[in-house]
């Protein structure tokens, strides 16, 4: 990141001027990458955005990356994201936005890919440390808590910046299927169904209409794809979305083959 450089004279997205020492400034142009941008005030967590009563936003950080969502069904959890690549020349099989943290916990993100990779690495290590101590697979709530603690650390330590990702962690353990969202501030929430990223308000409205308590996992997958389709700019297909599921067998699986009829249905 920028090392003690002077801020740009007119920051494009209205960032605060750098705080008193350490003189760290993150201009939004330095964190803007193709396909998404990230804006957040460096130190103070000021709520931004319209009065949409979005709890994640109320905690100050708004991630506007590619849309991702998760739905908790009665017998499993599904997470999905759109995979918009900057060019058709990019090898889409090398990009994996959905990863597993343990055999029974998977995660998807909205925001900055590199930050996500670091968090995945840390979380996996924490899950293994737990196993080494207790010889028991880590419960979903504990892994979420520890990951959130890492993210919070980076909002309070010196010389670091917060992680530019929001995570949706999906898992199945002794307490059944679970879905958690973790924000850059380190706050986490348990959701029945949630979305993050660019299209969050539309996606959430759509999910609110379609979600039922006793949904089966296959219905949930269908709904997830339809929700992605709602906000997708362009033609949706199996190559530009990613889906991960976890069922009662407690194995997080990356879905490769999708019933194509779903895409053409309304």
């Amino acid at each position: 990141w920028a090392t003690a450089s002077t801020p740009s004279p007119s920051p494009p997205s209205g960032l605060c001027s750098p705080p008193p020492p350490p003189p760290l400034s993150i201009g939004s142009d330095q964190v803007r990458c193709r396909g998404f941008d990230l804006t957040f005030p460096p130190i103070s967590l000021q709520p931004v955005g319209e009065a949409g009563a979005d709890r994640a936003r109320a905690h100050g950080r708004r991630i506007s990356g590619q849309t991702s969502l998760g739905i908790k069904a009665a017998n499993g959890v599904v997470i999905a994201t759109e995979k918009k690549l900057p060019s058709i020349l990019v090898d889409e099989t090398s990009v994996q936005k959905i990863q597993s943290l343990t055999p029974n916990i998977g995660v998807v993100y909205s925001g900055m890919g590199p930050d996500f990779r670091v968090l995945v690495r840390k979380s996996r290590k924490q899950a293994q440390q737990y196993y080494r101590l207790y010889k028991e697979t880590i419960p979903v709530t504990q892994l979420v808590r520890e990951t959130a603690a890492v993210m919070q650390e980076f909002t309070q330590s010196g010389g670091v910046r917060p992680f530019g990702v929001s995570l949706l962690i999906a898992g199945y353990d002794d307490n059944g299927p679970q879905l958690y969202q973790v924000d850059p501030s380190g706050s986490y929430f348990s959701w029945k169904a949630s979305a993050m990223g660019k299209n969050v308000s539309n996606a959430k409205t759509f999910l609110e209409k379609r979600y039922t308590e006793d949904m089966e996992l296959d219905d949930a997958i269908h709904t997830a794809i339809l929700t992605l389709k709602e906000g997708y700019e362009g033609q949706i297909s199996a190559n530009n979305i990613e889906i991960g599921v976890i069922r009662a067998d407690r194995e997080f699986k990356y879905v490769y083959k999708v019933n194509y009829a779903v895409f053409t249905a309304t």
Binding site: L133, Y134, K135, E136, Q142, R145
Partner: protein, 189 residues
């Protein structure tokens, strides 16, 4: 002087039908001199999990305090009690941390796991776990205890019979060991 025989101890645990028993002697000595006759070696972790620590008394107490601390935090974080198997792994990890300067204790862990299935295990002072289906013994009287338990033990004993068996096994073994004795303390769960 032998470090494991400094204070003298005898601890034994047995499995019954949907129950377990854990017992220890009550003597605390400083080599040949008896210093206390009401020393506690079996400690409660939670309602269905007990740990007995034989060997050096100070290490037994300190180890128990560390384990109680870890378990209380676990309870707060995970909002549940630790399973006996998990606890055994924790004890093993804790002991191995001190591989080159160990706690001079031999723990015996006894608990009721899921569906109240009894679980017992023992380990050496650096954390090598030993699971057993019938009984586990440790302390200065361990050789006598092995013999006594082997001959007196039957599988699937009811709590009352288990109590009799474990008490007789303990008393007859400590009678053959000058460093342990002065009564026994038996717990049935």
């Amino acid at each position: 002087p032998q470090i494991f025989e400094y204070n003298g101890s005898a601890v034994v645990a047995m499995v019954g039908k949907n129950c377990f028993a854990i017992a220890s002697d009550r003597r605390l000595g400083v080599q040949l001199q008896t210093v206390a006759t009401d020393f506690q070696r079996v400690f409660k972790i939670h309602g269905k999990l007990y740990i007995g620590l034989s060997g050096l008394a100070t290490d037994a107490q300190t180890l128990y305090q560390r384990l109680a601390f870890k378990h209380k935090l676990y309870q707060l974080r995970e909002e549940r009690d630790m399973k006996p198997e998990t606890f055994a792994s924790l004890v093993s990890a804790l002991l191995y941390e001190k591989r080159f300067g160990p706690y001079f204790c031999q723990p015996i862990i006894a608990g009721l796991g899921e569906k109240d299935q009894p679980f017992i295990c023992t380990m050496d002072c650096i954390g090598a776990k030993e699971l057993a289906k019938d009984f586990v013994v440790s302390g200065t009287a361990s050789e006598s205890l092995y013999g006594a338990c082997e001959s007196m033990y039957k599988p699937d004993m009811e709590p009352e019979e288990l109590f009799e068996t474990i008490s007789q096994a303990l008393l007859s073994s400590v009678d053959r060991d000058c460093l342990s004795g002065w009564g026994g303390y038996v717990l049935i769960v």
